[in-house]
Symmetry: C2
Subunit: 198 residues, 2 copies
DNA sequence: GTCATTCTAAAGCGGTCGTTCTAAAACGCA
DNA sequence: TGCGTTTTAGAACGACCGCTTTAGAATGAC
């Protein structure tokens, strides 16, 4: 019984993602956002509450569309060891091809917002826990069928896979060098195929 | 032949470091800085130029006092493999003991400033290259005397050591859990003691 | 068609931003 | 002691911040 919304929420959120992703939370003004989203400031506040809540919505949509999409697409399509390799291959490819060097919006949020904001800490930590679980499931499956080394506990292997994932996302923003990123991935993947000597 | 400066430059820069480190560049106002440094805004601009130049000076002093100090203190005091272990032990300890979860100011700069500012990109990348070289020298020395595995090239081992270092600094800001950080360090250190199977 | 409701556009709110200006106080040197 | 310079403190600058208000256009229910 009133005038319906004139814009597509998912589409304008995608525009907000581009702003926040490229410039961060603090450096993005509400006017920047409204311009890029193609709506007015009043519509923005009416639809999303405030700048922080908009960022929250944008981050959710970003995570669902990048990490979430990638995980659900790759899982169960190949043997675990190959899934892990393909995952890192994709991350490196998209990190190197982004000429803006935006990095990963989740990692950016982890450093800019999470340390000062309990809710964002909870959200970001939760996603990172899910990523860690994703790796752990793959490692456990690979260890079970003998395609991944058991010389390290699955927990530790999952942790370092998560770590190298984050490191690639950080390093790509400052030193977007293929050899560097691929060298890191090579080393961590080699760990999956290793045996302890002593 | 004029009035000398009333404050100690190193001391006020330490105060600026605290501000920028805890809140980042954008979220720190010049008034915050002047208050914490105990000088007026005019003195700040007179002595350092502008906000960005002050950040630059603060970052230089931070790097010299943290990474630089640590590298020169640990290098050549123990066998290479032990130096690497001690390095990660220190990083984890100081990451977990910081209740503000400020992380590493260099890593914070890598994400907030470097992607949009050529000079900061150059500076941050340069420090990261030095850290990578530090690791590479240690790995090469260890491989030479047989205390570090040669199943991976020294270049790749140095790269993943750098990566895990960054990852610890990022993760500690969101998930400051000892088991997580130590598990990552354990796994990467195990790689130094590994042999390829296949 | 009427009305209540919710939308859009644009101006405007108080506040804070980075930075500079004004003026007086503090020094080194003659 | 007086001069030239540089420091201070504090007010002030225009610009922009996040956000709200106002006014009017567009809609669905009756």
């Amino acid at each position: 019984m009133a005038r319906p919304r004139q814009f597509d929420e998912t589409a304008v959120l995608d525009a907000a993602i581009q702003c926040f992703w490229a410039k961060g939370f603090e450096a993005t003004s509400v006017r920047d956002l409204a311009d890029e989203m193609g709506i007015t400031g009043a519509s923005l506040y009416n639809a999303f509450g405030d700048k922080r809540a908009l960022y929250r919505r944008a981050l959710d949509q970003y995570v669902a569309g990048s990490l979430g999409e990638r995980v659900s697409r790759l899982a169960n399509t190949q043997p675990p060891r190959e899934v892990i390799g393909a995952f890192f291959h994709e991350i490196i490819a998209c990190s190197l091809s982004d000429k803006q060097r935006k990095g990963c919006m989740l990692v950016n949020s982890a450093l800019e917002l999470a340390p000062h904001d309990r809710e964002f800490q909870r959200v970001v930590a939760g996603v990172l826990v899910e990523a860690e679980k994703f790796f752990r499931r793959l490692v456990q499956a690979g260890q079970k069928d003998g395609t991944i080394s058991t010389s390290q506990p699955a927990d530790d292997l999952a942790r370092i896979l998560l770590g190298v994932l984050l490191a690639i996302r950080v390093l790509a923003r400052v030193r977007p060098e293929r050899e560097l990123l691929e060298g890191m991935a090579r080393a961590v993947l080699a760990l999956l195929d290793c045996e302890l000597v002593a």
